[in-house]
């Protein structure tokens, strides 16, 4: 009992210790850490006798060469953890004041936080091309997971068609950008000068999103007449139909896939779209119009009796989710610069579903956490080869046992609370 109490006070002390630190301090601390890596990373790896800068916080190095575990841990401690904690702790009171000053204009403060956060990612990723690729794919996964959570979590219908929407978006965007900006044998001369590409690319992505949303309409019309398992079955069928349709379309080069997409999906572009996705979806689910989704999920009859147009609510959310899946598909195609229909099948579905249910239903936080952790875990455990496919499912099972709705379910993502200056106890 006494031990427990002691632990409790220790815990709350620790929590108090950290709860006074505003997000701004953490972000600037992170910025310093990645800057430190940029400047001193190479020298430190020499001293620690590491082969090169550990790409994913040392996980890959540790798993490949267990002898290097101590050096990797020291590296992570010296470069990331210590600078961040020390900085955040030491500067908490001036930065609290700064955060309070910024908070007078909340949107500006939010923009500053996002820009600084982007700077961290940019500097961190600058070390190697592998980091850039991983980061971009992770951000695409965030968009995908969040858009599926809108349907499976917020709306509570089980949809399996996300890879299909992604394929529609990926192919639509690929065809558009190959026709418009690239001269190749298959689609002929470029229609527009290549210099306009990076700007018009955003419209190309929206085109991909709209294609996916129209695909969603095809599913939504028959399956939202009633509730039940219809959507799951129809959407699963849709996924396979899209895949085999593309495989049989010669002008899309069938199963060989399309390649040579221009390199427009750079890190800033992917990051911007991710922020846009999180922003709009979070706005939607926190409005009364969006909360209607929860009402429909929890009791459709009551929602109807309280003036909620249930069918329209479901259609809008489904198409909105599909739109973002399409955008994610377009980005995905331009990150890899290659798509084939085989990518968008049951394995992709399992991946996205795992991210949604791992992270947590009905939660923007959860989707971000789920997508980032499973993407990074997938990369970090790569050296384990086949065992990776034992460890990740095992982890999923554990989460399902102890937290059936996911790690961070049913939690509101309140940006205002996040960027607010933190109270300092007297």
């Amino acid at each position: 009992m006494e031990v427990k109490n002691a632990n409790l006070t220790k815990n709350s002390k620790l929590r108090g210790f950290f709860s006074q630190i505003p997000l701004l301090a953490w972000i600037i601390g992170g910025l310093i850490a990645v800057w430190l890596e940029h400047l001193a990373g190479d020298r430190l790896t020499d001293i620690l006798m590491l082969p090169k800068i550990p790409v994913l916080f040392g996980f890959v190095t540790m798993l490949k060469k267990p002898l290097l575990i101590p050096s990797s841990v020291i590296y992570v401690l010296l470069i990331y953890l210590l600078p961040v904690f020390i900085f955040a702790r030491l500067t908490r009171s001036p930065l609290n004041k700064l955060a309070a000053a910024l908070f007078k204009v909340p949107w500006l403060s939010a923009v500053i936080h996002i820009v600084l956060f982007y700077a961290i990612l940019h500097i961190w990723a600058d070390i190697s091309a592998y980091r850039v690729l991983t980061l971009r794919l992770t951000l695409v996964a965030v968009i995908l997971t969040l858009s599926l959570n809108l349907i499976n979590g917020y709306m509570g219908e089980f949809s399996c068609s996300h890879p299909g929407f992604m394929a529609l978006g990926a192919y639509m965007a690929s065809v558009l950008s190959l026709v418009l900006f690239v001269s190749d044998r298959h689609f002929g001369e470029a229609v527009l000068p290549a210099i306009s590409g990076p700007f018009l690319f955003h419209l190309v992505l929206i085109g991909g999103g709209i294609a996916a949303a129209l695909g969603a309409l095809v599913i939504a019309v028959p399956s939202f007449r009633t509730r039940g398992d219809y959507l799951a079955i129809i959407s699963l069928a849709f996924m396979f139909i899209v895949k085999s349709m593309i495989e049989n379309m010669e002008f899309l080069r069938g199963p060989r896939g399309l390649s040579g997409q221009p390199d427009y999906a750079t890190l800033p572009v992917v990051f911007t779209w991710t922020v846009l996705c999180v922003w709009t979806i979070n706005n939607f689910v926190r409005s009364t119009l969006g909360k209607a989704l929860n009402a429909v999920r929890d009791d459709e009859m009551a929602a109807d009796a309280m003036t909620v147009n249930t069918r329209q609510t479901k259609m809008v959310a489904f198409m909105f989710g599909a739109f973002w899946a399409g955008v994610a598909g377009g980005l995905f195609a331009h990150v890899l610069r290659y798509v084939n229909p085989g990518t968008f099948s049951i394995q992709k579905l399992a991946e996205v579903l795992a991210m949604v249910y791992f992270g947590g239903l009905n939660s923007v936080y959860g989707s971000i956490v789920g997508a980032v952790s499973l993407s990074l875990l997938g990369e970090a455990l790569r050296p384990l080869e086949i065992f990776k496919w034992i460890i990740i499912p095992l982890l999923l099972i554990l989460v399902m046992i102890y937290r059936p709705t996911g790690l961070i379910a049913f939690k509101e993502f309140n940006v205002r609370n996040l960027i607010r200056p933190k109270q300092e106890p007297e």
């Binding site: 709009t280 706005n283 939607f284 409005s287 009364t288 119009l289 969006g290 909360k291 209607a292 929860n294 009402a295 999920r297 929890d298 009791d299 009859m301 009551a302 929602a303 109807d304 009796a305 309280m306 003036t307 909620v308 147009n309 249930t310 809008v316 909105f320 009905n362 049913f410």
Partner: protein, 256 residues
Amino acid sequence: MALLRIENMTHYFGGLRAVHNYNLDIEPGQVRGLIGPNGAGKTTIFNLITGIYQPSKGKITLGGSGIVGLHPHQIASAGLGRTFQDLRLWRHMTVLEHVKMARYSKITYGLIGAFFGTPKRRREEAEIEERAYHLLGMMGIAHLADQVVVNLPYGAQRKVEMARALSMEPKILFLDEPTAGMNPEELRQMMEIIRQVRDAFGLAIFLIEHRLKMVMELCERIQTLVFGEVIAEGTPEEIQNNPKVIEAYLGKEIVE
């Protein structure tokens, strides 16, 4: 012109005649009661009027226009609010969210507002929230606004349902056994609330109830339903002394 008029409404479930030739006229500000033994078809009548089922025959007009064939949400938006016998609350939502949700059809900021958080949306949501707090205050549950409904005691949940139905500004309110499962203290509070609501909003109330005491005290006119047919209609005293009603409730032998 009656606020709500139902003429010769009949409904069949397959071959079973659940409601037969049901008639009703409700004027603004009236409190009407519907009593009857279990399985008499009281809730079916509510579900027919609110659009959950379509009547096989008959006409229903609300404020002068026909509502048969409309979706439940359209009928609700036309001014017909209701509560449910089996407390249909949304289990993951807070009390405040419940009351705000019933304003759905009155929201004008549209999808653009929902996606991009326009100033118009912020204004409108703030207005809705203020109204919601006002209603919750009236019910005496404003302090519970941020609680998830499943954590609340039963009586408070009933009040949430009431506040939610009032939030849509109905012209007529249907209450399906509002005091089911309540203790005497909660019962007294609920009767007080119903009276208060009628006086404050001037709306008509149509009440299904098992507890005769409550119906007798609240309602101006009462209908008694047995096997889908109205066997008696009148003031509380008339109903109380009607031999057919006593027979339906207590059985023939006892009456004799």
